[in-house]
Amino acid sequence: MSDASRRRLLKELNQLQTESPPGIIIDKNSPDSDLKQWRIGVVGAKGTLYEGEVFTLQFTFGSQYPFSSPEVMFVGDTIPAHPHIYSNGHICLSILADDWTPALSVQSVCLSILSMLSSAREKKHPMDDAIYVRTCSKNPSKTRWWFHDDKV
């Protein structure tokens, strides 16, 4: 992890720990000392299909962060059933791939994912879930995503 990445991650962590927005839970001693991998809880917003449910997001930062996007996926026992979330936790979200910019942050990614959850109209995995989960790489950033649905 480069010095610049480390500094920026420390700043983000500080900000999240002092004032985390509603629906985002960060454990005081969550990231390990090298800050490479974080786990963040997200709580389904009120009035949505996922109200009150808690999911865990895992962020893995490369040495090029924030110039390259973090690798973000759902981990743990409960993976939300959502048209853009595969059952292995991979998330189909453009800002995690082509549309990433260094002005985005852990917080903005969490909020985007929460908003994506909130706008779901039915709890189900994507249509190609079975095939994708069997054939995909372990690392979601290795997938060439094809973004076609901007409604959910």
């Binding site: 610049a4 090029q64 924030p66 110039f67 549309d99 910019t101 260094p102 002005a103 985005l104």
Partner: protein, 202 residues
Amino acid sequence: MEQKSEEPSSSSNENKKEEDSARFECNICLDTAKDAVVSMCGHLFCWPCLSQWLETRPERQLCPVCKSAIDSSKVVPIYGRGGDSTDPRKKIPPRPKGQRTEAPPQSFPGFQWGGGDGVGGGNVHFSFGIGIFPLSFVASWFNTPIAGFGANFGGGNENQQQQQNQPGTSAAPGSHQYQEEEYLANIFKYIGIFMLIWLLFV
């Protein structure tokens, strides 16, 4: 941070200072911007941060904040008072220079009179263009650099005419087309001379 005042006020001072500095934080490293540049869309970055981002994705240069198109030659450096003790150009890559546009120079009075926007002025301008036309016509035909000179001289109207009339391929000397073109050029020359005389005496 200052630590002159008592405890409570000093902490509020710190908060205020933090808020103040947040307004001048680089959107990429989240530190106070060093070698600051601002994009045309108004977003502040450290020059090293922004240039690294532009190098990361050379085929899609977008502002990290608002995703508008961004160009390293069109960002404006910001010089605060007293800062910048080191020369930013020694760093790699160098920070772009500020852009300074010179005021338009006072042009030659005769041209000003001819090139005016009014109806009368436009008329004069047009006849001048015709007068010069055969020169550029013949010149471009022989493929000499004078062609550019002729086009510059004549102005906008004449440029269009040149494009329309310019032959796609130059005709071989002695051929039928060559004669025709020469004839045409002569006609234009006479019209030009006639116009000049008309200008001088009427």
